[in-house]
Symmetry: C2
Subunit: 191 residues, 2 copies
């Protein structure tokens, strides 16, 4: 299954809500956010997608969310119809897609617990923990997205995210090395 490659600048839109959902996307490099907006501008970032992640699954003809580049990024796109047809023929591929979709269901379930029931501190720690996990539990982790992005992902305000991070630093849980880089303490982010 091959697709065509595309590049996007920071903050460029890969696709918008309501647009025809003709393609499925796979991140090659960089980071992509998928989001939904309310009329008054409130934004919820559903997920950040990293290299290797596939996104853009939709049940209907049009996108129900938009996708934007968090950093400059490259993606490959595949015609959805072609992909679905191929999945019908190739059991291997079909199963891979199924796994990707159900895994995403699991992540969203988990994130709903965070949004519905966790405190700001827990949210930020969970965010950092997942970032650390993606980076193979490195001691120093990169945060490629802005505080605003983090806030809109965690259902908080930018100020609360910022304050919570400095509090985590004060309690020794992390140490901030510039705003986009965090050293996670020996204590780790255990809950």
């Amino acid at each position: 299954m091959m697709g065509s490659a595309m590049s996007f600048e920071r903050n460029e839109e890969l696709f918008a809500e309501e647009e025809p959902a003709d393609y499925v996307y796979k991140v090659v490099s960089g980071v992509v956010r998928t989001c939904k907006f309310l009329e008054d501008g409130r934004r919820q970032i559903g997920e950040f997608h990293f290299p290797g992640d596939v996104f853009g699954f939709e049940p209907c003809a049009n996108h129900t969310f938009s996708a934007e580049a968090v950093t400059p990024c490259r993606v490959v796109i595949v015609k959805r119809a072609a992909l679905m047809a191929a999945a019908g023929r190739d059991a291997e591929l079909g199963s891979a897609l199924w796994i990707a979709a159900t895994r995403e269901l699991g992540r969203l379930h988990e994130h709903m617990v965070l949004l519905g029931r966790k405190s700001a501190r827990e949210r930020v720690m969970a965010f950092l923990a997942s970032a650390a996990e993606r980076q193979c539990d490195a001691a120093v982790i990169d945060i490629p997205m802005s505080r605003q992005d983090i806030a809109d992902h965690l259902g908080l305000t930018i100020e609360t995210v910022s304050r919570t991070m400095t509090q985590l630093q004060e309690t020794g849980a992390i140490s901030l090395e510039g705003s986009r880089r965090v050293r996670v303490g020996p204590v780790r982010l255990a809950a």
Copy 2:
């Protein structure tokens, strides 16, 4: 594709988190909630499932959420492995499953906006609107679940749900006919 039927009492557990996820479920009658718990008892209800709904999709061997009967209910269960195998053979079935899964993704995305960005009033109105929609926009809608269930679905407390409903009544948006029955006013629930 046939499965076996099962019945559950109100509040009975269909399956628990961590249990082997050997079956996929379809609601025949009654209502089921899927939920996740935090160690300290906080609960997030991901979705309520109504007759016709299919649930229990998991990427791995074990369930990542639990399911409980909101009302007495009947479900049919199908071996997951058998279902997946059949989907590999029958394109019709495969596509139906795919649609069910992506539709669920869409619902969860929408719900994350609610949990992350909406006010209590908006949450309750959205909840009532979706209940009304499921009941073909009947003028009087049934609420089969408790206030606690609603609260845990909307990321609120039981008290806030209750208060918000009486406020909606005071402003004339709805009228409560007993705690489990609501008449939606002519104004409807337009945002």
